[in-house]
Amino acid sequence: MLEIEGLTCRFGDKLAVSNVDLQIGHGAFVGVIGRSGAGKSTLLRMVNRLQEPSSGRIRFEGNDVTALRGRNLRLWRAQAAMIFQQFNLVGRLDVLTNVLMGRLSTMPSWRAFTKVWSLEDKALALSALDQFDIAQLASQRADSLSGGQQQRVAIARALVQEPGLILADEPIASLDPRNTKIVMDALLRINKHFGITVLCNLHSLDLARSYCDRLVGMAGGQVVFDGAPEALTDDVARDLYGLEAGDVMEVSEARKRPALSALPLGATA
């Protein structure tokens, strides 16, 4: 269980995240929605401790992770695996090395610097890649892959970290519709199959509605909605995105149909 209490992040005199309280149960698939600049990314980055909180508390399985340092901090980061919008792979390194970077926190440094990976780590990384049908690309440079393939490499890297929690920061914002479905289905499968909690920032309301079992809406750094996807009415969405009534009607009408057709796919995956 992930517990967030009064989490705040300040950049200069700007409040990026303000006094956020959240309790996320084990195995949940939570979508964080809101406009750009609402503080979604900062919230996720603070949970991984990539961004230092200004105040507040983060607890995971009862352990306080807000003040971890050194090796314990690195182990926590591995446990709270991040997936990024721009994949954040090292383009000039090969795919398998990128995945094996997910094992760095557990291996002795001589192995990392000589790139003499242990057989178990290698088998694990290849298995993770094979899970996404890209094991045959292991020796290719990461930047020679398509966006969808790169995001699957990034997810494989997250999985070999053996995470207890996956933090996905707009994972599909740079992908085409087909790869969007592949990546979201992969996240859903990880969530259902292995019971790993997923916290996912999303721009698209329809994707959020069809994949997540709980939605958290943010605006101006604060949580303004927290509930089941069904409870997110057009009125709430309008407030969340600060749209005119007509805009949100049009948008939701136009998008409802693909969202409904995506629903059974998400449920069976």
């Binding site: 290698k122 290849l126 298995s127 899970q131 070999v160």
Partner: protein, 294 residues
Amino acid sequence: MSHAVVQLPPEQIAPLARLYDEAVAARRRHTYIVAAVILVGIVLSCWGGEVRPAVFAANAHRLGLYFWNILPVLRWETLGADLAEWYWNLDGWLKLLFETVVIAYLGTVFGAIGAFCLCFLASANMMRNTLVRVSARRLLEFLRTVPEIVFALLFVVAFGLGAMPGVLALAIHTMGALGKLFAEVVENIDMKPVDGATAAGASWTQTVRFAVLPQVLSNFASYGLLRFEINVREAAIMGFVGAGGIGQDLVEAIRKFYYSDVSAILLLIIATVMIIDMVTERIRHALIGMDQSR
């Protein structure tokens, strides 16, 4: 073992791992070959150029000894008088230091002006005429491959002793070095505004003025300041060949074994270079900040 990945059975892993290992082995071989070539290069260069590590090891203590020798005698009871004796020629040295900074400043400004004029002619994206571009590039190469001190020597012969030959020598080298950097900045610009200006009927110079200059100016300024830092150091040795600045007193002190003068002048030069580095770094950061806040 893992709770997040379905492990493949070993017989499925083996072919995948073999494929990967073969690909990596080829790359590792390349790395080893490069490392071997570098190692052979070190050995051959030391042997051919008579650079003997043994000589260094045998005489390293003398270097320390020299620095010990150039330290002044300072006693606590007579500190004021000792310091005054150490820096007996402070006024003269400060005058020469000022001249050094002036040489560096003029050399940088004149060099930067020349580099600015040449860089657009030397960049592949702005100059389609190969003959002009190649000539501009060769000219820049020639200007920067001849060391400053050689130019300074030639100009001292031609124009006589003083700061003028130093300024000329620095300006010429700076023109070559900055011209290449400027041209690279121009080659990395976004070409969309250039297309926009050209499509609107702008001439070549107008395109440079309105579509290229706004994109490159802050980078030019940053490189110019960096060059000024380098040129202050270069100007400090211009005096070695009589081309003005503090170098003439430094080389005299070294040659005539005026030990405490050597340390006094070296400390002054180090202090000056540090101050200039700090100031220009601050200006450069301010420029970058200004660029981003816009």
